[in-house]
């Protein structure tokens, strides 16, 4: 493991940024990015679960028998998901309502389980923390960018502030399902072009 902790963190921001490089966690990506705020909120909630579960899995990696490791990971993740759910209900009720069932669904977000299985169960505490944080921040950024694009085109605003002036006729289409798929597809295409150099 020649990689430093900083490198583990950085790879989540570009090299393995979800959901573009790792095509995982698509459902929340598509569902909650109707606005930049929702996207970032979802990203932060996922980051919290990702970091906490990565840490705990890494600490417990010697104890959990490998045969039942996946159910154990799921329980760990579910615990943190309930925590985040209750926290959001208490402090950011509006966001909690907006995100709806997608908060409990973090538990089945393949990114979280994927990192626990692929990284945290094989690495020490600090790299796992850095990995979780990096992937989480990358995911938050992606959701934020996608949310901004969809919100600005679909509602004419970003974080609730109007961007195109009063005469702008919003593309209703962008905040609906077809817009979600297409925006993500085209963003992926742009990422491919950038990645190719």
């Amino acid at each position: 493991m020649a990689k430093t902790i900083a490198q583990e963190f950085k790879k989540g921001l570009w090299d393995e940024i979800p959901p573009f490089r790792l095509v995982l966690g698509l459902c929340p990506t598509l569902a909650v990015t109707t606005s930049a705020e929702n996207g970032i909120g979802m990203g932060l909630a996922t980051t919290f679960v990702l970091v906490c579960s990565n840490m705990l899995v890494s600490v417990l990696r010697g104890i959990i028998p490998s045969k039942i490791r996946v159910p154990c990971f799921i329980i760990i993740i579910a615990t943190f998901v309930i925590m985040v759910e209750l926290l959001m209900q208490a402090f950011t009720y509006g966001l909690f309502l907006n995100l709806g069932i997608f908060i409990p669904l973090i538990v089945v977000n393949c990114i979280v389980l994927g990192r626990a299985e692929a990284f945290a169960s094989k690495n020490k505490f600090l790299p796992s923390l850095a990995d979780g944080l990096g992937i989480g921040v990358g995911y938050t950024l992606s959701l934020g960018v996608l949310g901004s694009i969809r919100e600005s085109l679909g509602s004419g605003t970003i974080f609730g502030n109007a961007v195109f002036g009063p005469n702008f006729q919003p593309f209703e289409f962008m905040v609906q399902a077809p817009g979600a798929f297409m925006a993500l597809g085209l963003l992926l295409c742009i990422m491919n072009i950038l990645g190719k150099k």
Binding site: A31, I75, V81, I101, P104, V108, M182, G185, L186, N192
Partner: protein, 191 residues
């Protein structure tokens, strides 16, 4: 009876689980490259989702609500679904090996399929009765299968075409899915 027809139609087409509700997008993209895989996956989802809808409804109504511990719903559901998938896998392997050969490899994928978990949560959210819950779950699963198989068919053809390289694979797949979603918006007028 008419209510059930509406429920089924709206669950399959109007509120299609992938194209309108955004649930199960990962397997939708992942298993749609080949028609054969798509059909297998669709079958497995129908099977598991119906069962999961049934059992989670029972758990929710008779335990969580009764004991007033709804906040444990997530952990309870995921445990039940994971166990159910395991159980189904073992059951099929022993009792119906032919079906296992067809669906078996897709079963583990379903544990982390948010469509299953999502539908169970939606059933609770919409406060459906037991019968409604079963029918909705099955209809959603059929909707998933329909979308997946349609999408796989389109995708197989697209892969024959000359797609600009940055758009290739998942990228063009998502754009296509967008168009499919647009087509499904057309069903809104049905009910």
């Amino acid at each position: 009876m008419g209510d059930f027809t509406v429920l089924i139609i709206s669950s399959i087409f109007i509120n299609n689980i992938i194209l309108a509700q955004y649930l199960g997008a990962c397997p939708f993209v992942g298993t749609s490259k080949k028609m054969e895989t798509a059909v297998g996956m669709a079958g497995a989802v129908v099977f598991v989702l119906t069962m999961a809808g049934m059992i989670t409804w029972i758990i929710n109504t008779y335990f969580l609500v009764q004991l007033n511990i709804e906040f444990l719903r997530t952990i309870a559901f995921i445990m039940v679904i994971a166990s159910l998938v395991q159980f189904v896998e073992m059951f099929l392997k022993k009792s119906i090996p032919a079906l296992y050969a067809g669906l078996g490899i897709f079963l583990p994928l379903i544990t982390t399929n948010c469509a299953v978990m999502g539908v169970c949560l939606l059933n609770v959210q919409d406060e459906l009765t037991f019968l409604q819950a079963i029918i909705t779950s099955a209809a959603y699963a059929v909707g998933f299968g329909v979308a997946l198989v349609l999408f796989a068919g389109v995708r197989e053809r697209i892969n024959l075409g000359r797609v600009p390289s940055p758009l290739r694979d998942t990228s063009i797949g998502l754009v296509t899915a967008g168009m499919l979603a647009m087509a499904f918006i057309g069903f809104r007028g049905m009910v």
